[in-house]
Symmetry: C2
């Protein structure tokens, strides 16, 4: 490991300044219990020698690391990688929020359950708190972890009675909005595509059913198709959908990537979007506005999500309670449902609220 600039330690600075280590420590911490002149002298010395406090020693002594772990658990059977655009946008927002608080971000992909050789960072004292992106399918493991450690906040679905704070979009309302939009445009045979083993998707599915019910439209099994998050399985699932429900005229896709796969499959089957089938996506990822046709989708206000996650985590780390946060779902109308005719959204309108 590189030591602070040329193996310089606090004892060295103390010797050079002709004071004790304690005084250096206090001076560098900005304590008013040290003479202003001494403080000044030490500050200059530290800066001139490029000395920096060794954070490992500091963490050991203080029992705090000033580090937060962000965990993006990837299940082995889930092809969704860390490169999924939505996750990455959220990660960027979290990074900004943590930086603003002077905390470091430890990025991790391996879930703390299962055989982790070194244990997870929270348990092994490498981080003061943990943000987990997505509950995944291992709800029980997550529950156990949260029971053992209070400093956990999760991005995901708003389940009841969990021990961790949940921040997430209003998935039920999002699903409802997407479906209602299609219904409002006169579609009646509307399909839902997504992996409803995931809590968030299950809620979107419920919203979809709610909208269908409210409009008096019936839903049969052929209209609800499981689909994983990558483009290829979405494409395959869409082909199954077309075979099972040839009269489909609308699709509520549970992610933008799925929506893109669906539109491709429809095109290959000779169905035009939006003329023959309207499609709504979810997430409003970067490419949604660029896709052809541009995607009507549900936006999750990622920036606010990052802030809310970090706020809640710091509350919990301070021993305070932190309520769940439900971020509003917003419908972004573009071309893929036909509501705009062939008009494109205005250039650059990637997010509704940048």
């Amino acid at each position: 490991m590189l030591r602070p600039s040329g193996d310089l330690t606090m004892a060295d600075i103390a010797r050079m300044a002709g004071v004790s280590e304690s005084t250096v420590s206090r001076a560098l911490a900005g304590s008013s219990r040290v003479a202003a002149s001494t403080r000044q002298r030490i500050a200059e010395l530290a800066s001139a020698t490029r000395y920096t406090v060794n954070e490992s020693a500091r963490s050991l002594r203080l029992g705090r690391t000033r580090t937060v772990e962000v965990l993006i658990p990837i299940e082995p059977d889930n092809p969704q990688s860390i490169s999924d655009p939505f996750f990455l946008d959220l990660l960027g927002a979290i990074a900004d929020a943590l930086t603003a608080r002077g905390y470091d971000l430890l990025l991790s992909k391996s879930p703390p359950w299962g055989k982790t050789p070194r244990g997870n960072s929270l348990v092994s004292g490498r981080a003061d708190g943990m943000i987990i992106i997505g509950q995944g399918k291992r709800l029980q493991e997550l529950r156990d972890l949260a029971q053992a450690h209070a400093q956990i906040v999760v991005w995901g679905a708003h389940l009841d009675g969990e021990d961790y704070t949940i921040v997430g979009g209003d998935n039920r309302e999002g699903g409802r909005l997407a479906c209602a939009h299609l219904i409002g445009l006169g579609r009646t045979r509307i399909a839902f595509m997504g992996d409803y083993r995931l809590p968030e998707i299950r809620l979107r599915h419920q919203g979809y059913l709610e909208a269908m019910g409210a409009a008096g439209l019936s839903v049969d099994g052929a209209l609800v198709v499981p689909a994983k998050f990558d483009r290829e399985s979405a494409f395959a699932a869409a082909q199954a959908l077309i075979a099972g429900a040839p009269d489909v005229d609308g699709v509520v896709a549970s992610s933008d990537v799925i929506a893109m796969g669906v539109i491709s499959a429809l095109a290959q089957a000779g169905r035009r979007t939006p003329a023959d089938v309207g499609v709504v996506g979810y997430d409003d990822i970067y490419s949604a506005a660029w896709f052809n046709p541009s995607l009507t989708t549900i936006s999750q206000s990622i920036r606010r999500g990052g802030d809310a996650l970090v706020d809640a985590l710091f509350a919990r780390m301070a021993g305070e309670p932190a309520a769940n946060v439900l971020l509003p779902a917003q419908l972004i109308v573009r071309a893929s449902c036909g509501a705009q005719g062939l008009t494109k959204t205005k250039r650059g309108s990637r997010r509704s609220n940048p």
Copy 2:
């Protein structure tokens, strides 16, 4: 900070097992110098009590952190955020490579120069090495940092005589390939768009000039337009280009995002892509294949880039020399230059070599 499960320390485990701390330490490290039966017993005890070694103490003692910092420096005047698709893809590749080696990833956005309150992780002993994404415009600061610390690897342009190992795409060849492709399709008034204050872009620009020269085509000032990395400035820059060089029939854009902005601006000015103007992008980001028209672009084999960065860093951390790595640039032909007529690339062909 959460202590290893219920404030359990190695001394506790030692007491429970009826051995000394050293034995526990050795047993947990898998040392063969401890009886297999003892080792077994301690392992079970640790697992039952959910004990994990405290990493802060371990790092302090060992002088190593098993952590690598990945720095994505964002200059204040550069709107390119951490959410830039290319950076994020590369980050994902690096995360995988580090995980495979059992290292943690500390993500950071603030450059170590300038007033960083806590110093950077390398100097403050929070990381054993550092991967910096992009040289940015602060070459001298980077040079100083690399002179002080050997454990630095940079993704970027292959400059000569730097103290750090450089891994990056063959930018010159990429620029040349892009331009030669357009020339091969009969274009003669080919523009270059990008911020050539950045070393990587400067090399792409050189490749562009090389191809133009080899074909005996002249380049005048109106054809070379500075453009930042966001869509809006690319759009504005493209408008300037059209005004200054109305006869332009090809564009080498220094990123896919810029290419998208250019195509939008061209469309607004009544120029069709690829019919009137052929456009080549750079990076092969996620949306490149989805854009309409799909982007012909230069792929940088990001996965190999992540591996090469991590390999080189570990070599340097071991005190060994690590040569620069030049990754081949590959032309991905899609629709935006007219080489395919209106044929789309095969679905799902996001990367040339996944």
